[in-house]
């Protein structure tokens, strides 16, 4: 018998940097993405899109398109009307046109679809559909949209003064949402000795996963069953919505998310293309494939952010924050299709008091319609947490500059202290755990912060220095793992998650999940949790997800919820099996259950090391000779409804050198310390952090979706939209502390979004810090060389 330590290592359970199980297929070109699917008789769909942002549709002429050999159908809103499918509900309680119904609301909006034998003929047919538009003035700026007399976008909502989230105060207004205590915050400001205010724009960006969105819809007219393979981060929710829209019983709808080439929030919403492909398959009785191209992906699918924020801090003279006030105008585009839990139209934005003990806080968000694509997805973040963290981390720096306080010191003075956890914030969240002070000191020591500040001072004093040096700090707290179903639901379905585990007679196991990986490595890490819980080697555990006909119902993967919610469901399902295994072991060893000790992969009779039953033996017994009165088999299902969110945190530090001549910003160093609680697979965690930091770098330094006054998107290819290559991408240094979540079964908190959320303000803080001695308190993202160069000129840097 091997020693326990050896046996534990052989399991490759929690804490092991286990190599990834999914890699074998991906490195050999045997992945199975939606576009790889080919079904007999499959047709191809393509979409006719609006060239203008705001217009009435006068006429659509399909004749030329239909005359092309190989074209099977051209569908417009008028064709969907009899089916009542020309509009569909959004996740945010609004409706969205599936195909433009009399009016176009944004450039590249879906106007018609064509279905043809292959994608080339479909593309020809798109060109041949003639659409006559009567252009209307476009509304691009959300502040202009709220002016009296502004052109009204949503004529379908005429006269509706109540929306899904309360009162609408203007035809282009969607909702006003408030959190915190306004009176308390106002009182804090009235009595404050120091006040700062900063307006900032978190620009519209796009998650831009490398694989675009698409589906293959296959309706079987004989059986009346619909199977759809789809790039969806939430296949079960899609099944429910498709059933509601189509009238097909949910038991006859099967949604399969196969391998997904990155999601980052972009693959949460239900897009018109999916609906049209399903309709086309039902109408034509043949499988229909739709895969969008890159321009379509950037132009029409879920964008992120677009928050115009106005922040204020009240503080004492020595830098203790006493109050926070935030007002936001949120540009939601033409339809409110934000992907948030139903009750939260601004997501979890009210985490914006951050890692700080702020006694009074208030925020207000107003959602506005403009002639832009709908979306508002969480781009590698939990619902609007990125915006919240950006706001507070910028504001703390603004306050530090006002008080001439060091940016690390102001954080020390305001952090929630570790003995305050669990901590109730002024917005009402209960932060489960944290230890910011120790983590901050670890980072400051690792980078020799004092030496960096001394170097910066020397550079500032040296007129011959060719660079401006900036040091950025971001000490964030996230809120992930949505969520407790008493608070969080999607279209009424609680945001729990699920796991089913079947342990086979010979001791291997199959786990089926309600989540779906888009690169996170679930097949590897979920198995590690089971391995540790049940003593079954992770190599012998198969993990399946993404097929609604086999997996238990789950809400999917986004908002860093897989580990906090589904990871907990796995542990709980495994514990049900463990409890049964103990009964079987007690029966086999002829002792009471209480006389058994668990050790790695076996039960031992306490005080008698020779009397053991391994999990492998127990598995066989479960099917061969279960104890009398106990049903055979070894399976469990668990639906986990988390009691709270989890609150991962981190301390990030960036050092940048800005070229005084060109405005180019070089990232000299980026040090990221993350605390995600229990670490399941350190290799995968580090990989996720590298990726998130790189996305954060892209957002902070280059990504934006600029529109002209007519609502034309000026950058919708990868020529214009910044995705960094290996050359621009900085080198990342990672570190960690471990503060387990007290309410999660294995103490894990989720990690993959922290580096995106935390790095973006860190970059901005670093760039602004380079100019801090010149009285610059804020610079808008993205920090391209051009923008930074303009600041250099404006600040009179020679």
């Amino acid at each position: 018998m091997n020693a326990p330590a050896e046996r534990a290592t052989a399991l490759a359970g929690i804490g092991e940097s286990r190599l990834r199980k999914e890699d074998a297929r991906f490195i050999q070109g045997k992945g199975n993405y939606v576009d790889d699917l080919k079904l007999p008789g499959m047709l191809h769909m393509d979409i006719v899109r609006a060239p203008v942002a705001h217009a009435r549709i006068k006429k659509i002429n399909k004749a030329a398109a239909l005359a092309i050999p190989g074209v099977h159908a051209v569908l417009t809103a008028d064709d969907l009307k009899p089916l009542k499918l020309h509009w569909m509900p959004t996740l945010a309680g609004d409706v969205q046109a599936v195909l433009a119904d009399e009016k176009v609301h944004f450039q590249m909006q879906e106007v018609a679809v064509v279905v043809a034998d292959d994608r080339y003929i479909a593309a020809d047919a798109v060109e041949a559909v003639e659409v006559e538009y009567e252009e209307l003035p476009a509304v691009v700026d959300p502040f202009a949209a709220l002016q009296p007399g502004a052109p009204v976008l949503r004529e379908d909502l005429a006269g509706k003064t109540e929306g899904a989230h309360g009162k609408r105060t203007h035809p282009n207004h969607i909702f006003t949402w408030e959190a915190g205590d306004k009176a308390a915050a106002d009182a804090a400001f009235a009595s404050a000795s120091v006040k700062v205010r900063q307006k900032m724009l978190y620009p519209r960006v796009h998650p831009c996963p490398l694989e675009t969105c698409g589906c293959v819809a296959s309706f079987d007219p004989v059986r009346g069953e619909l199977t759809t393979w789809m790039t969806s981060q939430a296949p079960h929710v899609v099944r429910t919505v498709v059933s509601m829209l189509s009238g097909l019983p949910e038991s006859k709808v099967r949604i399969i998310s196969p391998d997904i080439g990155g999601g980052f929030g972009n693959k949460v919403p239900i897009y018109p293309g999916y609906v049209c492909a399903i309709v086309a398959s039902i109408v034509l009785g043949r499988p229909v494939k739709w895969v969008e191209d890159r321009v379509e992906n950037i132009s029409s699918t879920g964008f992120a952010r677009d928050y115009h924020m106005d922040g204020e801090l009240a503080a004492t003279g020595d830098g203790r924050i006493t109050g926070l006030r935030v007002n936001v105008v949120a540009d939601h585009g033409a339809f409110d299709a934000c992907a948030d839990p139903s009750k939260y139209p601004a997501g979890l934005f009210h985490i914006c008091s951050g890692s700080y003990d702020i006694p009074a806080a208030y925020c207000r968000v107003d959602g506005v319609y403009t002639n832009k694509a709908p979306g508002g997805v969480a781009y590698r973040c939990s619902f609007r947490v990125t915006e919240a963290v950006y706001l507070i981390e910028r504001m703390v720096d603004v306050l530090a500059q006002k008080l001439n306080l060091d940016k690390a010191e102001i954080r020390r003075r305001n952090f929630i202290r570790k003995e305050q956890f669990p901590y109730r914030s002024a917005f009402g969240w209960e932060y489960d755990s944290g230890n910011h002070h120790d983590a901050l000191e670890k980072v400051l020591t690792a980078v020799d912060y004092n030496a960096l500040r001394a170097e910066q001072a020397a550079k500032r004093a040296d007129p011959n220095s060719s660079t401006l040096m900036g040091i950025g700090l971001c000490t964030f707290t996230e809120i992930v793992g949505a969520g407790p179903s008493k608070m969080c639901d999607i279209l009424g379905v609680g945001m729990f998650d699920s796991c089913e585990i079947r342990v086979h007679p010979t001791g291997s196991a199959l786990a089926r999940m309600g989540t779906i990986s888009q690169g996170q490595g679930h097949q590897t890490t979920y198995a590690q949790i089971i391995a540790t819980e049940l003593g079954i080697p992770s190599e012998e555990i198969q993990v399946e997800e993404g097929d609604t006909s086999t997996a238990p119902y789950g809400l999917g993967t986004y908002g860093s919820r897989s580990t906090p919610v589904a990871g907990a469901a796995i542990a709980m399902a495994a514990r049900k099996i463990h409890a049964k295994a103990r009964k079987i072991a007690a029966h086999l060893l002829e002792v009471g259950e209480g006389d058994l000790d668990w050790e790695i992969d076996r039960f031992k009779v306490r005080g008698d090391d020779k009397r053991v039953k391994t999990m492998k033996e127990i598995c066989w017994a479960a099917y061969h000779e279960p104890p009398p009165g106990l049903e055979p088999g070894l399976e469990a299902v668990h639906y986990y409804d988390p009691p709270n969110f989890t609150f991962p945190f981190g301390i990030y530090l960036a050092v940048v050198d800005v070229d005084k001549l060109t405005g180019e910003t070089a990232v000299r160093r980026f040090y990221a310390l993350d605390d995600c609680g229990t670490r399941i697979n350190p290799m995968i965690i580090e990989g996720q952090i590298h990726g998130g930091l790189t996305e954060g770098y892209a957002v902070a330094m280059g990504q934006q979706m600029p529109f002209d006054a007519q609502g034309n998107l000026l950058g919708n290819t990868l020529m214009d939209y910044f995705l960094p290559t290996a050359v621009e991408t900085p080198k990342w240094e990672t570190d960690y502390t471990v503060t387990p979540s007290p309410h999660h079964p294995i103490g894990a908190k989720g990690v993959a979004e922290s580096p995106h959320v935390g790095s973006i303000p860190c970059f901005t803080n670093a760039v602004v810090d380079a100019f801090a001695h010149l009285d610059v308190t804020h610079m808008e993202m993205p920090h391209t060389s051009w923008r930074v160069w303009k600041q250099i000129k404006q600040s009179g840097v020679s």
């Binding site: 190599l19 990834r20 999914e22 890699d23 074998a24 297929r25 991906f26 490195i27 050999q28 070109g29 045997k30 992945g31 993405y33 576009d35 790889d36 080919k38 292959d118 994608r119 080339y120 831009c208 996963p209 490398l210 694989e211 675009t212 391998d259 997904i260 080439g261 990155g262 980052f264 191209d293 890159r294 888009q518 690169g519 996170q520 490595g521 290799m683 995968i684 580090e686 990989g687 996720q688 590298h690 990726g691 998130g692 930091l693 790189t694 996305e695 290819t717 990868l718 020529m719 995705l723 290559t725 290996a726 050359v727 991408t729 080198k731 990342w732």
Partner: protein, 163 residues
């Protein structure tokens, strides 16, 4: 549209097919030959997910016509392993966690193996420049660079053993 007969060596096998002149190489490989390891990420030759070898060069197959490859030798990710043994770049990406969602991976691997033929003993900076035609949204490249260096080392060892 009238079709043109082309003959292409794909992963060591001669393929003769009639294709439309406008058919892109990537669609020829994916749809005619079912080599779906070749991916489409942008259709504008920016992302590199469609990278394959054509006559000893890295080529983005989304912006090359199949008819342009008449008489050429094409190699895709499906032809990378031989005799059930992974190529060093495949092993490197696995061992160094050089992939996450896997969508960019075939293009990365094809570029990496060609790059290492062009520069068998690269520095980290040379790897970064040599792989700059391939975008990844998941990994942040750090482990991809490690993976390519792993493969370089492995290939060198192999060559030394053979010598």
């Amino acid at each position: 549209m009238s079709k043109k007969l082309i003959s292409v060596q794909v992963n060591g096998r001669t393929v003769e097919k009639a294709v439309e002149p406008r058919t892109l190489l990537v669609h020829f490989l994916r749809e005619e030959l079912s080599l779906t390891g070749v991916h489409i990420g942008c259709e504008t030759s920016h992302c590199g997910a469609c990278t394959v070898d054509v006559d000893g060069q890295s080529i983005k197959s989304c912006t090359v016509l199949a008819v342009q490859c008449d008489g050429s030798e094409v190699r895709t990710v499906e032809g990378l392993a031989s005799g059930g043994v992974l190529h060093a770049v495949q092993e490197g990406f696995y061992k160094e966690h050089g992939l996450q969602c896997g969508f960019c991976t075939p293009g990365m691997l094809m570029r990496a193996q060609r790059f290492l033929l062009e520069n068998p003993n690269p520095t980290e900076e040379e790897v970064r420049a040599g792989m700059a035609g391939n975008l990844c949204r998941c990994t942040g490249y750090q482990n991809i660079v490690k993976a390519v260096l792993y493969a370089a080392h492995k290939l060198q060892e192999k060559q030394e053993a053979a010598a």
